[in-house]
Amino acid sequence: MKLGQIMKLLDARAISDTVDEELEIQCACASDMMSDVLAFPKEHMILLTGLVNPQVMRTCDMLDIRAVVFTRGKLPSAEALRMANEEGISVLATENTQYIASGKLYAGGMDNGTKG
């Protein structure tokens, strides 16, 4: 699924300087615990989170995550956004809760990259 389609499904807006709507996303992970994100890394993954600190972007950098959606109307901290812009990570924001956003992506055919 392309990032542009995810934006439409979640009614999400662009927060970072650039958003690569053509970016191909194969699976999604929703978590506020970066420890858990680090434990289940997948390629071409998008991260849905309500955590707004710079460690979100550091985690993305380490795992080669190229796109993040902040849920429930949350916005990344200034430092987190600066890091995202520097690393070229596409940052989106949606008013949907983590649960609703996950449900919409799942219903739209997005995999979680694992069985079960």
Binding site: D32, M33, M34, S35, D36, L38, A39, P41, L51, N53, P54, Q55, V56, R58, T59, D61, M62, L63, D64, E79
Partner: protein, 139 residues
């Protein structure tokens, strides 16, 4: 023969710079042309180690050593040490504070995740002195 050896100091409880050493190490390995799969596994293990240094130790360092057939990553700290390593290696077990959890860490996955990503993993610890973790990645 060692191609590169470099040390990266890590400060305790500094959440602003936490992860900078890991980011530097990742860039260094990319520059050296190390296999992308190895870089990915090492980056995860390295970041976990760095976060542990920040949240659990009184300060420490990461030491990266690259030779022609192996990358070695050592995490060394001065700190409280780990009384029961088997228990600390159990997924979900954590002694992290609520403040640390609010930062998105301390789920009790770190040590096990390091061991999972490294080809070989050694840990030794002395209570009241500190902890040393050695991780090896074959090239």
């Amino acid at each position: 023969m060692s191609i590169l050896k470099e040390e990266f100091p890590v400060e305790a409880m500094d959440f602003v710079t936490a992860g900078e050493a890991s980011a530097q190490i990742k860039r260094l390995l990319k520059k050296l042309g190390v296999d992308a799969g190895v870089i990915r596994r090492l980056s995860i293990a390295c970041y976990e180690a760095e976060i542990n240094l920040v949240i659990h130790s009184d300060g420490g360092k990461l030491v990266l050593e690259v030779d022609s057939n192996e990358v070695t990553l050592i995490s060394e700290d001065v700190g409280p040490g780990i009384p029961d390593i088997d228990l600390a290696m159990t997924e979900g077990y954590s002694t992290a504070s609520e403040d640390v959890r609010m930062m998105g860490f301390g789920a009790g996955m770190g040590l096990a995740n390091m061991a999972r990503n490294a080809d070989r993993f050694d840990i030794s610890s002395k209570v009241g002195e500190g902890t040393t973790i050695k991780m090896y990645f074959s090239l």
